[in-house]
């Protein structure tokens, strides 16, 4: 029996395809990562199906690429060595919203759009990254460590326990979901760690190379009763960052982020052709966006004490920061942005990163806020060198946990139909990652071959150890081969 | 569970097998009390553990070693003797442990030394020399006994009979006469008549401390009889080691209470504090000095009165009758501080390790004689702390501390002043230091 026949027999014709058009759809994504065609696409709805396919792949040494989202930006799901794309988007059940324990358990195919709507109906939200694509898998985005816009929760990661099918085909539950018979157990899956090893860590940042997660428990929060969104125009980024060092450390605020004029314009422009150019030049160089919220009890009083402290600090220590409930010159911004921060990008609209030109190469890394302006300067320098207009670069700065670190992201827009633009961005990106890595930028999520190779060459002992661990979980090297250092 | 008879008698090491076997290795004996932990520097108060680093040198190691010795699982060796004796018995371990538990660590260490001597293995050779000096010449230095009163300068006139008996001690008699002289002058200035023993002899501190309990007992009995004969109501000393010996260890080895001595044992710091607060002594002279006070171990942690105890221990380790343990709470901490800060011009600044957390100077109880490098090292550690708080002078209340610190300062070539409490008080006494 051929592989094709075996697979078809295993999953049935409804779940199988090797139609060239279908295969083509999985061979590229919105990144500049070169295309890679799978040989087959299989859709799975249950963990048992996933298990069967993985066992099959193992037996025949066929590469497997798990896909859980409807949109991809980093090339993680482009097969490098053919094989089977395992489409998990149908595993999109919201199993339970557990109010008592502030927990939700969802299938890996549940999208941001789906989850945020379901949660909102019950008065809940989930801490979110900035404006995720509505068709992205929530579980996968958190496995891939997308950085949330909320800086105040000390317990950081929303991910709790999970179910995974290992590359060897075994179904396994991590953390406290590992008890026999879960979820029919007193254990609710609230602890991500263990058993024995912290398996969940090995699955994070793995781009599907360590196993296939089928569902996960995540933390949810109550929707605040009161939200106030505040803005400050920023010209001196270092000064604004000092302000953030000061206020985020004393736990002021919920969502807190900075967008440069290009990125903010990209997000808020209503009519693109009419508004974007104007906004790009009229918005301040940077805008600080800070949300303060009142919770379930005495919400006004919470807002009040935060406002008092903010006012005092601004008056006594940061008089140059004009923090207000509006951005001068841009009426209605608060009303527009606040709901956006709690939901993914609208499904019908062009994704914000694609609005300027269609293509967007994101360059992002973790760093200390105190190094941000240095890196911004460096990128501008390199952009100039490659003829990329500085005025076209989108920048997003996301403080992390009281501003102990930050996620710094540069969005390099380009027209994918223009070879010269593509080349220019490729060259700029290629040099930028090299230079920035050398200057201490932490590319903790290396996407794309170039960056990945640079990172893993540099982190030699980490790479060696990672490969040893991988060889245990994926002895036949079937899971998304060619990604990371595998 | 049957009960077992137990007592705090240090001459029977078996009395402390329970304590040794219940050490939980928390190192409360080694660390500064966590409430007072100053940070990554000055974090420990056991000089032995800090210097030698192996667990075996901390009390938590010594408890295990002691147990093994007593249970016949370990033989004596040079290393073992060093572990037992490279230690000033400063009491930091005892107080540290007793913050949370009911274990008699100090007594166990004393008992192990007594056992080592009983077994013919201890003390260290240097200690044997000192023992000989004491038994033959009645001082630890082996100096001529007749020179013991040479410290008496012109103008110092002890009374033939008085309520207060000043017990000078070997160090102030022979090596640091300035302390004895200052003490005498302070007493004069306050109008306090004092007498001396007609034939003062070594208190026997080192004898007891190294485990030579029989010799120490002999000395103790002689000394107590001599004091009783004078009719003194108060025995005053300017030496912390002597203070502890008289107040705590004499009763301990004679199986009596401190209260049964028949006279009160008082240190100069306590006495002067009383005089100042009563108005009998005026400290009016300005002394412009930024200083820090070093708590001598024997005056602080180890100074609470002794009450003998025996009883039974049963289930859960509960003892009957209940035992009020000596936890170092009521050491002489505040009186010297009150006196020093009452002197005009004095800026009293505290070191990170103070009171019951003080880091021993390293000299006491025979340690310097047998382990001079260790003693120097400990003093240097303490002097770093002094420097840290920007003090110009370190003041203590024991000639052995003064001796060790002075030597360390001399070796370092620093200009830090090393003073005894008595000297500072004397310089603060005006021409009419008397209250009346």
């Amino acid at each position: 029996m051929s592989t094709r026949e075996g697979l078809l027999k295993l999953v049935g014709p409804e779940s199988f395809s090797d139609d060239p058009e279908v295969l083509k759809a999985y061979s590229t994504d919105f990144s500049l990562v070169p295309p890679g065609v799978p040989n087959y696409v299989v859709k799975a709805k249950k963990a048992e199906e996933v298990q069967k396919v993985i066992e099959f792949a193992n037996a025949h040494s066929i590469p497997m690429v798990p896909v859980s989202s409807g949109a991809h930006f980093y090339g993680t799901t482009i097969p490098k060595q053919g094989g089977i794309v395992l489409d998990l988007t149908a595993m999109n059940k919201v199993f339970e919203i557990d109010e008592f324990n502030k927990r939700v358990r969802i299938g890996v195919g549940v999208t941001w759009e789906q989850l945020t709507s379901e949660l909102a109906k019950k008065g809940f939200r989930i801490v979110m990254p900035l404006l995720p694509h509505p068709l992205r898998s929530v579980v996968t985005d958190y496995l891939e460590r997308e950085v949330p816009t909320n800086t105040v929760y000390d317990y950081g990661e929303p991910l709790q326990s999970m179910e995974v099918v290992w590359p060897t085909g075994e179904v396994f539950r991590t953390g406290s979901a590992s008890v026999t018979g879960y979820p029919d157990s007193p254990s609710k899956g609230g602890n991500p760690s263990g058993p024995g090893l912290d398996f969940y860590r090995l699955l994070q940042g793995a781009q599907g190379t360590m196993g296939v997660v089928t569902w996960a428990n995540l933390k949810i929060e109550y929707l605040p009763k009161i939200d106030k969104i505040l803005f400050a125009p920023v010209r001196d980024l270092d000064y604004a960052l000092e302000f953030l060092y000061r206020i985020l450390r004393i736990r002021i605020g919920q969502e807190c982020l900075l967008l440069n004029s290009v990125n903010l314009a990209t997000v808020i422009a209503d009519d693109w052709s009419r508004d974007f150019e104007k906004l790009s030049v009229s918005l301040p160089p940077w805008t600080l966006i800070l949300v303060i919220s009142g919770f379930q009890r005495r919400p006004e009083e919470k807002v009040e004490y935060e406002e008092h402290t903010l006012a005092e600090i601004l008056r006594n220590e940061f008089p140059e920061i004009q923090l207000a409930d509006h951005l001068p010159g841009f009426p209605g911004l608060g009303k527009k942005l606040l709901p956006r921060l709690r939901k993914p990008w609208p499904e019908q609209a062009t994704y914000w990163k694609q609005r300027p030109k269609g293509g967007c190469q994101s360059l992002f890394f973790i760093t200390k806020p105190t190094w941000v302006t240095r890196f911004v300067g460096k990128v501008e320098e390199l952009a100039a060198k490659h003829g990329y207009p500085e005025a076209d670069i989108g920048v997003y700065l996301q403080p992390i946990e009281h501003n102990r670190a930050c996620h710094l992201e540069f969005n390099l827009f380009y027209d994918p139909a223009s070879d010269s633009e593509v080349e220019r961005v490729r060259a700029l990106y290629g040099e930028a990652v090299k230079v920035l890595l050398g200057e201490g930028a932490l590319f903790t999520r290396p996407y794309g071959e170039e960056l990945t190779n640079l990172v893993y060459e540099r982190a030699a002992d980490y790479t060696m150890t990672l490969r040893r661990v991988k060889s245990i979980f994926d002895p036949n090297k079937i899971m998304n081969p060619g990604k990371l250092c595998f | 569970m049957p009960t077992e008879k137990v007592s705090l008698d240090v001459t029977e090491a078996a009395n402390f097998i329970f304590d040794m076997s219940r050490c939980i290795k928390c190192k409360g004996c080694t660390w500064v009390d966590h409430i007072y932990m100053p940070g990554v520097k000055y974090s420990t108060r056991c000089p032995s553990a800090t210097r030698y680093l192996f667990d075996s040198y901390g009390a938590y190691g010594k408890m295990r070693i002691g147990l093994a010795l007593l249970e016949g699982r370990l033989e004596y060796s040079d290393e073992l003797l060093k572990i037992l004796y490279a230690c000033t018995l400063c009491g930091a371990c005892d107080v540290g442990c007793k913050r949370n538990l009911d274990l008699e660590i100090e007594l166990a260490l004393e008992a192990l030394r007594i056992q080592a001597v009983k077994d013919g293995k201890g003390p260290m050779p240097e200690h044997k020399k000192i023992a000989k000096n004491i038994m033959e010449k009645h001082n630890s230095f082996g100096a001529p006994h007749k020179n013991r009163t040479k410290w008496l300068a012109d103008g110092i006139k002890p009374s033939p009979k008085a309520d207060v008996l000043y017990f000078v001690g070997c160090s102030a008699s022979y090596v640091h006469p300035e302390i004895a002289q200052a003490t005498a002058k302070i007493l004069d200035a306050s109008g306090t008549p004092f007498m001396l023993l007609p034939d003062e002899r070594c208190c026997g501190n080192i004898l007891y401390s190294v485990g030579m309990v029989d010799e120490a007992r002999e000395v103790a009995q002689q000394n107590i009889d001599a004091v009783r004969q004078t009719g003194a109501k108060t025995l005053l000393t300017s030496c912390a080691e002597g203070y502890r010996m008289w107040k705590v260890d004499y009763p301990k080895i004679l199986n009596m209470s401190t209260a049964d001595l028949g006279f009160e044992v008082v240190h100069l710091t306590e006495y002067v504090d009383g005089l100042v607060k009563d108005g009998a002594l005026k400290l009016a002279n300005r002394v412009d000095l930024r200083l820090t006070y070093h708590d001598p171990c024997s005056l602080s942690r180890l100074s609470e009165p002794w009450v003998p105890w025996e009883g039974e221990r049963g289930l859960w380790g509960v003892v009957d009758p209940p035992l009020e343990r000596r936890r170092g709470t009521n050491g002489v901490y505040q009186p010297p501080r009150d006196v020093l800060s009452s002197i005009p011009g004095v800026e009293l600044t505290e070191m990170p390790r103070m009171r019951e957390n003080a880091f021993c100077c390293g000299a006491g109880r025979g340690t310097k004689e047998a382990f001079p490098d260790f003693a120097s090292w400990a003093a240097e550690q303490r002097l770093m702390e002094v420097k840290e708080v920007g003090a110009e002078a370190i003041v203590s209340a024991c000639p052995w501390c003064k001796d060790n610190f002075s030597e360390a300062v001399g070796n370092n070539g620093s200009d830090l002043k090393v003073l005894d409490f008595s000297e500072l008080v004397l310089s603060a006494i005006g021409s009419t230091g008397q209250g009346r």
């Binding site: 903790t444 | 409430i35 007793k98 343990r325």
Partner: protein
């Protein structure tokens, strides 16, 4: 076979003669018991050994070289920071090399970015003080101020303050790990550069090897350096006051305050925790077992027993005290706000505030953890589980029921179901069950109870911290995951092919069950082949 002369001389050349010894007295000082955590029990008696040699390295490089020598010469070794964890942190085979890490006490702090970098020899007490001096704080784990920060961060690492701050797993940043075969791997930002401020990646996160829910007790290598997250606190000083044994931190009550509440029922306590978490207030909240109150009041062991003997099942059952910590992170006004919200909640549930001392000696500096041994001399936590509040309560109740069969030799606690609290602002819950015994009694029942709790967890589908090396691996393995033990053992085999890193852990408890006569009757699962100790 004792460490060979050749091996000894190589080790000596690595650290210097002052920092190595095979002297019997030195080695005896490192004995696990008979006193200590989980000591005075069968496991300690049967499984632990005095080391054959002790070495004290100063740097990661020295540790690496030592470990490679052990691999070369077949010398079993155990990493050791303070040894306070008790039996399981000590050698389990004869003539092992004990690698005492106390000299690795380097310390750096980045105040602005809220982290400290420590060596294995730095203890929580030191770290907490350095943090608090600068307006930050950490969790001092239940083990106490005296434990190595690194050892606790990869072993346990929670306290009532985890209500706000959460799991230690999230607080581990850049780390240096010497693998069992001597290879060095740097995790997080240290993989790329020299500043250890970040812990993730690159890519899959190898911090997953450092621990599971609880730690490895040293069988998967040695962590020599770690950057640890510090958390923002408030600016007022917690002033140390008092003289031993009554030392305590005076709390600036406008910014830090404990409040004790009497609640009408256990349900209302649980509800209070849920409401607090819902309102997102508080720095800590926990049920107070009546036991703690007795310990706090007792000035001695005898006083404790006098107090404790007055308690009954009724008094235990009817004692519902909730203890809440408020921290004014933002401002005084914030603390006042939280207090109003708290009073609303307590009022709704029928609770009442009690007079509460404005001091703390237990959770900021955890100076009194050693007091756990005051009552009886023997103590172990037979479980300390982070799951949800819903899990926490029945978990403790189950243990209380099971415990009756083993009391004595366990200390009578009148059915106390242990303590529980809320963690991570209500996303998690915590339960801990502590047991005590007199080591002078026959303690076989304690060993058996310990194992029975594992079986009970499996039967009732509770999660448990006592996985990995803490219980028989072949008992818990099939029941959790399932078969987590298979992966654990494969990882172990991959990185410790010469079996020199703390043998026979993680199969030590499996070995114990085979070797101890009184444990054999409890074995009703398939175990691995266990070699006798030569």
């Amino acid at each position: 076979m004792a460490i060979s002369k050749e091996a000894y001389s190589v080790l000596e050349s690595i650290v210097g003669p002052e920092y190595i010894s095979a002297d019997p007295a030195i080695c005896e000082g490192y004995r696990a018991g008979p006193g200590g955590y989980e000591c005075g029990l069968g496991y300690e008696r049967v499984m632990t050994r005095v080391p054959g040699c002790v070495v004290m390295p100063r740097t990661t490089e020295e540790v690496q070289r030592i470990v490679k020598v052990c691999n070369r010469y077949g010398i079993p070794y155990v990493p050791y920071s303070t040894g306070f964890y008790g039996a399981r942190s000590h050698p389990h085979v004869s003539d092992a090399l004990l690698i005492d890490l106390k000299r690795m006490d380097d310390f750096e702090i980045d105040d602005k970015h809220l982290y400290a970098v420590v060596g294995s020899g730095v203890v929580y007490s030191q770290l907490q003080e350095e943090a608090m001096k600068r307006g930050m704080y950490i969790i001092v784990g239940g083990g106490g101020s005296q434990v190595s920060a690194i050892a606790n961060m990869i072993g346990d690492g929670w306290s009532p303050l985890s209500y706000r701050i959460g799991l230690p797993h999230r607080r581990i940043l850049g780390t240096e790990l010497v693998l069992p075969d001597g290879e060095l791997v740097r995790l997080g930002s240290l993989a790329f550069q020299d500043d250890p401020f970040w812990g993730e990646g690159p890519g899959p996160d190898l911090r997953g090897l450092l621990r599971g829910f609880t730690g490895h007790r040293g069988f998967l290598g040695i962590v020599t350096r770690m950057a640890i997250k510090l958390l923002p606190f408030q600016p007022e000083r917690l002033e140390p006051t008092g003289i031993s044994p009554h030392t305590t931190l005076q709390l600036p009550t406008n910014r830090v305050k404990w409040i004790n509440f009497t609640m009408p029922s256990k349900d209302s306590m649980q509800q209070a925790m849920v409401e607090m978490a819902k309102a997102e207030i508080g720095g800590a909240v926990t049920k107070v077992p009546i036991f703690w109150r007795a310990i706090a009041r007792a000035g001695s062991k005898e006083e404790f027993w006098e107090l404790w003997s007055k308690e009954t099942e009724e008094t235990i059952r009817d004692f519902h005290v909730l203890r809440v910590l408020l921290i004014g992170f933002t401002s005084e006004e914030q603390l006042e706000y939280e207090e109003r919200v708290l009073m609303d909640i307590i009022g709704e549930l029928g609770g009442e505030a009690r007079r509460t001392r404005p001091t703390d000696e237990s959770w900021f500096k955890n100076a009194d953890s050693a007091g756990m041994w005051l009552m009886c001399g023997g103590y172990v936590s037979v479980d300390y589980v982070i799951e949800t509040v819903e899990h926490a309560i029945p978990h403790g109740e189950n243990y209380a029921k099971l415990k009756r069969n083993y009391t004595p030799p366990l200390m009578p606690d009148y059915g106390d179901p242990g303590w529980f609290q809320s963690f991570e602002l209500g996303h998690q819950g915590y339960s801990e069950f502590l047991v005590y015994w007199d080591p002078s009694e026959n303690t076989d029942g304690v060993d058996q109870f310990y194992l029975e709790t594992s079986k009970e967890n499996i039967r009732k589908r509770f999660y448990t911290s006592l996985l990995g090396s803490h219980q028989p691996l072949y008992l818990t393995g099939p029941a959790f995951g399932p078969n987590y033990h298979k992966w654990l053992l494969e990882v172990k085999e991959e990185f410790d092919p010469n079996h020199v890193c703390h043998p026979p852990v993680p199969l030590a408890h499996d070995a114990f069950v085979e070797r101890a006569e009184w444990m054999k009757p409890l074995k009703d699962w398939e175990g691995p082949a266990i070699a006798d100790e030569p």
